[in-house]
């Protein structure tokens, strides 16, 4: 039996299904049923406009590059349905950031860079956490769990 062919076939099917799921998700995000998309898109566009020049913060911040903008766009697209919409910011490293905020001590902040890294920190009442995850086009489960904890 040609196992290589079977594995290849399974892998192709898996890729096809994965791509269909992504397409459906993109389509649903753009539909009227999920109004969050347009608001986030507007917020992202405004952040890009404000922060694409050097020194946008008056303290010599790096400009937000198009690569960072693209990564943030796909990050927002990859958020699961029903998740609360984050607000969008930028940091002096030239990264865009998203924040899920309930109060000063119940908050998750994640920065999206052009090198496919997600740097995050959260305050969850009396506890806190921080770290870095690699971004492969899907929002890491660890970050989704932190969003859930902010709103739990």
């Amino acid at each position: 039996m040609n196992y290589a062919g079977v594995i290849h076939g399974v892998s192709e099917t898996a890729r096809y299904i994965e791509e269909k799921v992504r397409e459906d998700r993109r389509h649903l995000h753009k539909s009227f049923a999920f109004g969050i998309e347009s608001a986030l898109r507007d917020d992202l566009a405004a952040a890009w406009e404000e922060c694409k020049q050097p020194n946008w913060d008056g303290y010599n911040a790096l400009p937000v590059s198009q690569d960072v903008l693209r990564n943030m766009y796909t990050f927002l697209e990859a958020l699961p349905f029903g998740f609360p919409g984050p607000s969008i910011g930028a940091d002096p490293h030239g990264h865009l950031s998203v924040e899920w905020y309930r109060s000063p001590r119940r908050v998750l902040s994640v920065s999206v860079s052009d090198d496919d890294l997600l740097h995050y920190a959260a305050l969850l009442g009396s506890s806190n956490t921080c770290g870095t995850e690699t971004y492969f086009g899907e929002v890491p489960e660890s970050i989704l769990n932190l969003v859930r904890r902010v709103y739990s």
């Binding site: 952040a47 404000e50 922060c51 020194n55 946008w56 913060d57 008056g58 303290y59 010599n60 911040a61 790096l62 607000s87 910011g89 930028a90 940091d91 002096p92 490293h93 950031s97 924040e99 905020y101 000063p104 001590r105 908050v107 902040s109 920065s111 890294l117 740097h119 995050y120 920190a121 959260a122 305050l123 806190n128 956490t129 921080c130 770290g131 870095t132």
Partner: protein
Amino acid sequence: MIDPCHVPEVESDETLARFILSSRHIRSSDDTISPNAFIAHPGNELSVTRHRDATEDEIWNAGRAVAEVQQRRLHGRGDVVAIAFLQRGLALQAAPVIGHARLPDNPNHANVTGWPKDDKGRQRLHALEIVAQSRLVRPSDIR
């Protein structure tokens, strides 16, 4: 303002101001400050202005002077007591600006140093902890 000839070290109970020159650094939902305003870059220093020996007008004048030089609008300032930085293991250095070619004189200027340069997650955590203890003050013309 502080006498530039006798600048004391920063003490833990002093209030320090971080001028906000980007509207992105203010959370519109509840008028609090974004952690992005307290992330040091470039280098490893975060610029602040000490309240010590300064009137309210003098503090705002320092902020307006920086905004003018940088051609930015002054949106407000984040006031935070120095201990908030020290509790995070950061250091405070008096760094008066006098006679600088491109910066306005500010004898009350100080730097927050000791940021974890290669750990951006921890930088963000420090910033979150600090903004949780900060207070946004708006200038009188946009209150």
